[in-house]
């Protein structure tokens, strides 16, 4: 009997400690995948071009998260899609990338993308790539990409 409360107490302490330990385990992961914002990607956005924010350049090659909207894919059965700040209203004559917003981010997903709903806000996590790159299949030119990316719908947005 005298031992019983102690055991119980130890057990209770262990149970109480569990979420804390999980948080400790999780926090380095959260730090690795820093949440970036479309606004924060650039230091300036002018007629003469975009200038990357120092933080964007510092995170080159790192895993980051970004929230936005999937644009309707340029081709089906692809790992490639364009992430935009707002849902894009595609104009009926845009057969090229001519009228895309300038601050888009190209996503190369780890698996073939199955589009669900283009008005749903997504969180994408992937390895940040910075600099001009032309997609060999679509010819789409991008300045920022997330490679090996995974994504999920954001519930309360």
């Amino acid at each position: 009997m005298p031992f019983a409360p102690r055991t119980g107490g130890a057990r209770r302490r262990f149970l109480l400690a569990l979420p804390g330990m999980l948080a400790l385990l999780a926090s380095p992961l959260a730090r690795a995948a820093e949440l970036l914002t479309f606004d924060g990607l650039y230091k300036s956005n002018t007629v003469l071009g975009l200038k990357f924010a120092d933080r964007t350049l510092a995170l080159k090659g790192e895993s980051v998260r970004l929230r936005g909207y999937m644009a309707p894919p340029l081709k089906p059965e692809s790992k490639f899609f364009v992430l935009t700040r707002e849902p894009v209203a595609i104009c009926p004559f845009c057969s090229s990338d001519a009228e895309w917003p300038v601050d888009i981010v190209v996503i190369y997903a780890s698996k073939t993308v199955i589009p669900s709903n283009f008005s749903e806000r997504l969180e994408v996590e992937g390895r940040l790539e910075v600099g001009s790159y032309t997609d060999p299949v679509t010819g789409f030119v991008s300045q920022l990409r997330l490679r090996d990316a995974v994504f999920h719908k954001i519930k309360d947005q």
Binding site: K51, P87, P92, N117, S119, S132, G139, V141
Partner: protein, 593 residues
Amino acid sequence: MRFTRLPLAAALCAAVLALPAAAQSIYPLNRAEILAGSRFDLKVEFPGLVDASTAKLSINGKDAASVVGKSADFIYREDGKDVTSLILRDVALSKAGKYTVEASDGTNTKKVVWNVYATPAKAAAKNVILFIGDGFSVAHRTAARILSKGIEDGKLNGKLAMDELPAMALLSTQGTDSIITDSANAAHAYTTGHKSCVNALGVYCSRAAGSLDHPRVETLGELAKRQGYAVGAVTNSEIEDATPAAMIAHTRRRSDFNDIVKMFYDSKIDVIMGGGSPNFLPQSTPGSKRKDDVDYIGQFKSAGYAFATTKTEMAAAADNDKTTRLLGLYNTGNIDGALDLKFLKKGSVSKFPDQPDVVEEMKAAIKILSRNKKGFVLMVESARIDKYSHSMDAERAIYDTIMFDKAVAEAKNWSKANGNNTLILVTADHSHGVSVVGTVNDDAPGNDMRNKIGTYEDAGFPNYPAPNAEGYPEKVDVSKRLRLVFANTPDYYETFRPYMDGENVPAIKNADGVMVANEKYKDVPGAVFRTGNLPNTGPRGANQGVHTGDDVVLTAGGPGSEKVHGQMENTDLFRVVADALALGKPAAAKAKK
């Protein structure tokens, strides 16, 4: 009755039978009206392979090469296909008259007839300003008049500046492929005098595979420049967009923005202003949309152009007496419309706080172009009347119509003070399905927004505040608003009110490729779902309002405007301009060839 019907039926049968027998195509098409001395490509497309020895091309019965002074390129397998073509690039016919062009493959002959016309020898006008309200329809005009002038005792308190121009005509806008045009072939009709097909600028739509390989016709920008006029194009869309591009471009595909930037550069027209800077930046610059490393801003500067990125820089460049060429790029996308720029500050105004409006662009352009002694040709476009009508954003479209008219007023004033020798043409390129149906009164009983719509005497008058000095009501979300509706729509949520937080996005594509109503507006108080009446799937599935085929109104004043009357083809506008400036002088044309 029988006797008259039978031959008709026989003739119809013969026509139907004759049509599919794959005749050769000849460009320019039958019944083309061609300005004497203007340059064009003559192309013949045979339906199959034809030997060089049997292919014949004649003009008025003579070998075509002897008439135009150069021989045709013979393309045995065009684009690697089993079809033969003949093409004569960059030819001109200097003498006015009927020209019968015949092409034969040895067995079948196809004939077209062109009318080549000369202009008066002497120009009636020194300058031409062509105003294009993109998508600008009668309801926009009526709405702009009500909001910017007001009504008392059943009469408007004033007219729009364009209303007081003396000449008026209805223009039909159809093209070579359809009764409905887009801004490309619609503007092309004005700037070349030739008809073409949807998406095409400065070319006939042939079977060529490459968008830049189609038979070209000379544009107003090129013609005027070649004859010593200063030329300008100013807009609040991206400068590469179809309407301003029609001044200089030759492509089957209007979205060839990077090629169009090069065409602007090659044309050396004097004033170029709008949005759309990313296609001028080398691909290595973040934010560029080019696919090469050409720095077009640098190129323009080297060619002697002043360069402006803000209204302040534009004004400084225009005020400098030495400025005769200006490239102004004020936004990466479209320049914000009047409602956002001046009142709501939505759109990209926070990112680009010092953008000029169309009126300011035009005034700067005139200042620069009028330094050319011979005169100038300027296209002024209010582009977002169309864009906001696509997005079914009535108030933004109306405010941009007010801005458009303000530009016309300023141009009229300038002309009056500067010799009264400027031809001013005000028109649209195509229409939208818009109509003013009454008012919406928030204070009407009940919660159902539909039953707050006033029709007939219940419509009464809207309660916008009196317009400010520029002609805009400073409050758009008043309790009794004008009700301008869209006839041809995708599925959408009708909110019965202005979009105070930014431009409307009525519908979006879902994952199955179907255009569906944008759920963003579902919970706006009073919003109701409206089933659309436009296709919602396939390549022409509509996520917004689309162009209509109604006639558009052309109003005009100044020397040469007397030719504007009645019902005209859109291509006739080009001839009005060519005549006013004597761009196809009989004497000059003779000297050329």
